[in-house]
Symmetry: C2
Subunit: 315 residues, 2 copies
Amino acid sequence: MTRAEFCAFVRIHDNFVILTHRRPDGDTIGCASALCLGLRQLGKTAFVLKNEQFTPRFQPFLDGLVCETLPVDVTVISTDIASEGLLSFDAVRMDLTPVCAVDHHGSNSLACPKLVEADKAACGEIVHAILQELGVRVTKRIAECLYVAVSTDTGCFKFSNTSANTHRTAAALIEAGADVYSINKVFFDTKSFSRLRLEAKLTDTMEFYADRAVGVCVMPKSLLAEFSVTEDDLDSISGFARSIEGVKIGVMIREVEDGLGKISLRTEAPYDAAKICGLLGGGGHAAAAGASVPGGIAGAKTAILQALRDSGVTL
Amino acid sequence: MTRAEFCAFVRIHDNFVILTHRRPDGDTIGCASALCLGLRQLGKTAFVLKNEQFTPRFQPFLDGLVCETLPVDVTVISTDIASEGLLSFDAVRMDLTPVCAVDHHGSNSLACPKLVEADKAACGEIVHAILQELGVRVTKRIAECLYVAVSTDTGCFKFSNTSANTHRTAAALIEAGADVYSINKVFFDTKSFSRLRLEAKLTDTMEFYADRAVGVCVMPKSLLAEFSVTEDDLDSISGFARSIEGVKIGVMIREVEDGLGKISLRTEAPYDAAKICGLLGGGGHAAAAGASVPGGIAGAKTAILQALRDSGVTL
């Protein structure tokens, strides 16, 4: 769909439920909330479907927008959902799939008509453009929902996906009244003490190989329990080893259920994380990939070190 | 001076040396480098004066621009220097003061004609506007110097000074070809292992008071020596305690020379850091202030806790 077609679709319907993706992040929640508020401003009925995985720090953006049961004759749309497998557990339970989708993943495989702009860092940039095209006034609250979307999906304008359009969207949202400092403080400038203690432990137990170009850290279940670590606390923890100066290949091994060791690999060129994890039956992108292997943490460590050697890395 | 007056001043001179401030940061260095490159593009002779405190990560931006001795008939200008007391040690040694200044500090007390735009988060935003007004083509290198200025002075668009203009400047710099991802990785996404080990130690020795609203950490000299911590590693460390979820008053006590304890205080409203440090003979801003007291770390801790009590905080 083009942006104009998406807007035309929205204009002829009156009763919307918006779906967010599994393990919802700022982009899917910010987009769903902003779109919901925009549709209501146009006089339509709109809700964001409950998602049992919404975490506490996103609640302010969802306040008053969430529905638990489905209205009749509802039009189901989705924001930032790239495939059916990523529908929230609540959507799956209610047997809902979108009839129309907005997304920025080039790989989007949803079967419905969809507006996909893969050059956008965040789906929030697309929703901002849609709302303007629909003639919605971007209120302070809408601006803050969209700022959460745009800022969290780019690591506060830090990741490689950040574009001129991302910054220009942020400028427009600030001018629309978004209190971006409060949002930045919560999402980018504050860590829980549990998270800090976890990072301290990861630092103390860090292992380096290949003249410090390879860094490996491990996260047994006991560690998460000891520090009362929550899902919010673990945000981006997979990149921890890679964030150390000089490390080109960062490995995080997390102990998960069924005795599996979950490997998260972060690399910089010329190392290809997807290829390396492919040797262990996993996959992903060139810079970030993963695999799960048996034998818990010890098994995963042996496996990933061997996969690195097999990929030509001298350890 | 207005922006037009500053540009007129630049046009009638031919031979420039640009000064940076003491403990130079990305804004003073990025501005000086960008302005220097812009002036050279206009056919003028221009250099950035050596500053013994330039740190390694800024070298790429200064490459080929730095002079150690002074050309004859030189016009001395400064970027981001708010007062004579902040002139670099090299400038002081050579008895140089600027005849014209560009800055964004409202408190600028330099005696020379100056262009001060206090509504800008970074001096880099002003230099970007100046270069455009001078008809300079913003090359990839100039854009990267200005991006370093703008991004580092706003903590990658995170601090409360970040405005719509800051984001719009960043958008223009990306369109001018700046490889912002590489810069972001060095300045915002990478920590030295020394820094991480220091943070781990600070976490382990953290003390909390007042139901965790007050966090105190201490940094003895021995700690810095143990982890081979450099000045680059200490960037923004004063805000460490304050960055912990729930902490409204963050204290960092650093052991410095002559048995002094250097207190850095970071607060959020209604607590006024400048007032509290004022009780100890120090000063600063409402959100960030400091004081140095005798008796090393122990003396400083006793003093700041008493100052907090005297300010009405129940510990």
